[in-house]
Amino acid sequence: MQAKNYFVGAAFALLAGGMAHSAVAQDIKIGEINSYSLLPAFTEPYRKGWQLAVEEVNAAGGINGKKLVVISKDDGGKPADAQTAANELVSSEGVAMLTGTFLSNIGLAVSDFANQKKVFFLAAEPLTDAITWSKGNKYTFRLRPSNYMQAAMLVEAASKLPAKRWATIAPNYEYGQSAVAVFKKLMSEKRPDIQWVDEQWPPQGKIDAGPVVQAVAAANPEAILNVTFGADLVKLVREGNTRGLFKGREVVSFLTGEPEYLDPLKDETPEGWIVTGYPWYSIKTPEHDAFLKAYQAKYNDYPRLGSIVGYQTIKSAAAILAKAGSSDPEKLIAAAEGLSVPSPFGEITFRKIDHQSTLGAYVGKTALKDGKGVMVDSSYKKGADYLPGDAEVEKLRPKD
């Protein structure tokens, strides 16, 4: 909340009818939107991440000598409010670009806004494939590995399992639906012998875990795909542990290795799940060491995946702005397409073909260590290796 002092100026701008935005013309401004009040567990570390990045960028001389300022807004988890915020950032704050968003529908709403108003938008979190493919547009780029990419990473490991009878549990909204759809499609391609014996679709945030666990167990699958996260995951794991659902069954799970979702499980962490995530404690690369040291020095806390996303969003945005040397959206697009930037996970590239970054994810297994959940046997999967071929991407994406 340190950035709030700045908003006194924003309040003035609002009162003055939005005419005050030339007051700090020397700074380069980025407008950032996220669901701070709705999803604090993810967005608090995320905010810390981007604040660290801003500090680093400015300590290194800013963007071509100009100071970088990030103006951050809360969208309360509502697409309509995100658009109001985007409009404020663009119309009265005069930001050079928009970044952020977590939920897929909010990412899409802001992306559509960016397309309509011709503003550069770097989506940070939203996982939906639509944002770069079926509803992609030339103003929108996306940092995080998409649903498709994470599914492909998990399928690589899952297809090696002997299990033939699979059940799925996923939250009943777009993210869960498309995660299951992609996973099933890629999995059945590699393993035509697989049977899908049950699927459960609890409402997001409202899982009635007991009956769901019973229903899955009744179908007697050999392996389970889980897409729930957050509080739903906690309930599912607790019921599943008590009722022995995971005993003798393989489980493949989206996002569960992220500290945001793994840490709350504490000593109830189920062992041996194949997950995507972020094992910050076992990554030994110079890039990540530098990030980890800086983060821990500043916050006296360990990073979550949100921290990486926030940090890398602003680092990438700064690199794009520096290369473009202008805040003209067309020049920003030209600068971003094909741009390679360093990241705590190694170098990533914003692909020209679909504006997806090649940031990857770690895939590993869950384990219990000193009463806490950790990821073991993890390895980094480069995003570039888990995207479909160019010809297929061109078919998926509408022409600009």
């Binding site: 009818g17 509502k78 309509a80 899409l108 309509q116 009722r243």
Partner: protein
């Protein structure tokens, strides 16, 4: 076979948790008539406090002691809230207390994050109930068995409390006729306080008992509150047994429903409620509400059309609003458009609530249907904007015609809950029918055509439509139809006795309100360029309700002011602070206490007093205030 038994038991365990919370809500509503929106918040605080206590106190005694202690602590908070806040507003118009508890809920959601941090918290398992019991190869968690036993025990205790104690007799009497209880010399204040405390205690106990199986987090309240309301209404308001049966019914239908339709959970409770209310208008165990003694019309200043001076003042206000593009930037203009659209939305609900006496909890359905109507026409049929704007609201009109027909057969809170059920059914269709509606990713790219694309033109469009709608609805209030509608509100029996077809009048009003909301939604789709299931969601319905109550439900067009104040404040706060809910909630509670008749209602009352005390020659002072109507 063993599987079905275990699934049944699992459903019972879910029912027990639901029942604890629902019984508290039912008792509170039965006696105080407060629609306690904060019930979920108390449930959540119960869980948080219990989490903190169980982490500190160890052992079996520590754990169970913590659970009870947490519930008692929250009950104490409930007593404070009742004495400081609610006592001041029992005599405010019906549903006004909803506003206070809504404000409280907003504040609590931010407060728990400030106090306990943003992370999901996972509490300890209950000592002695950690494992599962084998039942013919199926595992039943022993904690589930504990909950299954607890449900009937609590039901039994409550039954004894109500049937065998003097306090219980008073509570039952007050549930049936609280005016009579007051007339007989019972100290109502303490009766209400104690009932509120018991209700809150049950909510907090329900929350605390979730610790061994759930995660404690800041959205727990929303997850349960609507469901609990539904359970209470299915069971029949004020009926504890009803709440128990309804909780079992809903939980079992869910437990077995997901075996056949895995996606049923999202809508099940609302489907059940809609069916139950259509078949049994007062819930399974409820009794018809006694006819109200006080006619609302008596508490209100008699309505009258604006005088010509006031008309001029309103026109002047409109002209001033229309000059905004001369000095405001694009952002302010877009905010202005949004506020104008919400004025349309709020006055449409206000028409239904204040003139018709029908409070809808699902008014966003018709707003959203209007928005989807536009999106379908623009994206699929490719029709021009003006045609879309004219035809889009028809979807809202049709929705209102169908649902309104069923809804107006009921009254009071049952009417409200049936509209909520319908709204949720529409929402879930928009949410699930991905191939047509795009699911929760919505329909994108519904942008206005060139002539309306500039923020100032769109602002003028929205402002113009808002003004027209407000004038049209006002004119309707003072038309014969409006008088007939007011008659149905004030006394249904007398209305029918003089030969007015009350249900038809109410139905017509419902369709008018729904269509008007659809007009707002149609404009909203173009303002945002996209349509999402959010546009039909509960939170939007609640927003509309808050706007109407804030403006003053007993005024002719207080909702205009309510919408402007609430929406402007909301947008501004969200932009300024991450703690917008805390500030907004505090502000709403302040308004509730200072303006118990709503902003415009209070201003009118002041103006009325001044008029009475000042000589008839100088009514000038009151003018600017009343023009705000």
């Amino acid at each position: 076979m063993a599987f079905y038994v275990v699934q049944f038991l699992t459903g019972l365990a879910s029912a027990a948790s639901l029942f604890l919370v629902a019984s508290g809500l039912s008792i509170i509503f039965g006696v105080t008539r407060i629609v306690n929106f904060a019930h979920g918040a108390f449930y959540m605080i119960g869980a948080y406090i219990a989490f903190t206590l169980t982490e500190r106190l160890s052992g079996a005694f520590g754990f169970w002691g913590s659970i009870v202690l947490a519930a008692l602590a929250v009950a104490l908070i409930g007593v404070l809230v009742e004495m400081v806040l609610l006592r001041r507003i029992y005599h405010a118009p019906e549903l006004f207390q909803l506003l206070a508890t809504f404000g409280l809920t907003l504040m609590v959601e931010d407060l728990v994050v400030l106090i306990w941090g943003p992370d999901d918290l996972v509490g300890r398992r209950a000592p002695g109930f950690k494992g599962a019991i084998d039942f013919f190869g199926q595992n039943i968690p022993s904690y589930d068995l504990f909950l299954i036993a607890l449900g009937p025990v609590v039901l039994g205790i409550l039954w004894l409390l109500f049937q065998r104690t003097r306090w219980g007799v008073l509570v039952r009497a007050a549930t049936q006729d609280r005016d009579m209880v007051a007339a007989l010399g019972v100290n109502q204040k303490w009766l209400f306080t104690s009932v509120f405390a018991v209700g809150v205690f049950l909510a907090a106990l329900g929350g605390a008992l979730q610790i061994p199986r759930d995660a404690v987090h800041h959205a727990m309240d929303l997850r349960i509150i609507v469901e609990v309301f539904v359970v209470v209404v299915i069971g029949g308001l004020g009926s504890i047994v009803g709440a128990f049966v309804a909780a079992v019914l809903v939980s079992e239908l869910n437990a077995f429903g997901i075996l056949i339709f895995p996606k049923i959970s999202i809508i099940l409770v609302f489907l059940v409620m809609a069916v139950v209310l259509i078949v049994r208008p007062w819930g399974l165990f409820g009794k018809p509400e006694a006819p109200a003694r006080k006619t609302p019309g008596l508490t209100v200043n008699p309505w009258r059309p604006l005088t010509s001076n006031e008309r001029l003042a309103a026109l002047a206000a409109l002209i001033i609003a229309a000059t905004l593009p001369l000095f405001a930037g694009n952002y302010l203009l877009t905010v202005g458009s949004e506020i104008a659209i919400f004025v349309i939305f709020a006055v449409s609900l206000h028409f239904l609530m204040s003139v018709g006496g029908l409070a809808s909890f699902g008014h966003a359905a018709y707003f959203g249907l209007g928005a989807y109507g536009v999106a379908f026409l623009a994206k699929m049929a490719g029709l021009p904007m003006i045609v879309c704007l004219l035809l889009g609201p028809l979807l809202g009109c049709m929705g209102a015609a169908v649902f309104g027909f069923f809804a107006v057969q009921l009254s009071g809170v049952y009417f409200a809950m049936l509209t909520l059920a319908f709204a949720q059914i529409v929402w879930s269709i928009a949410f699930q029918w991905v191939s047509v509606t795009g699911g929760d990713n919505g329909i994108l790219g519904v942008w206005p055509e060139k002539w309306a694309a500039s923020p100032s033109n769109f602002y003028w469009l929205a402002l113009g439509v808002a003004a027209l709608v407000t004038i049209a609805l006002r004119a309707m209030v003072f038309s014969p139809f409006g008088y007939a509608l007011r008659a149905t509100r004030d006394s249904l029996l007398r209305t029918e006795a003089i030969g007015i077809n009350a249900k038809r009048i109410q139905w017509t009003a419902f369709v008018i309100a729904g269509t008007t909301a659809g007009i707002g939604g149609a404009l909203f789709a173009y303002l945002k360029g996209s349509v999402f299931p959010d546009n039909l969601g509960i939170s939007l319905s609640v927003d509309a309700l808050v706007m109407v109550l804030l403006g003053g439900v007993e005024t002719v067009s207080g909702a205009v002011i309510g919408a402007i104040v609430y929406k402007a404040l909301n947008i501004w706060l969200v932009s300024q602070t991450d703690l917008s809910k805390l500030v907004l909630g505090g502000f709403i509670m302040l308004i509730v206490v200072v303006f118990p008749k709503g902003i415009v209602g209070m201003l009118e009352m002041l103006a009325q007093r001044r008029r009475k005390s000042s000589p008839p020659g100088s009514p000038l002072l009151a003018k600017p205030i009343e023009s705000a109507e």
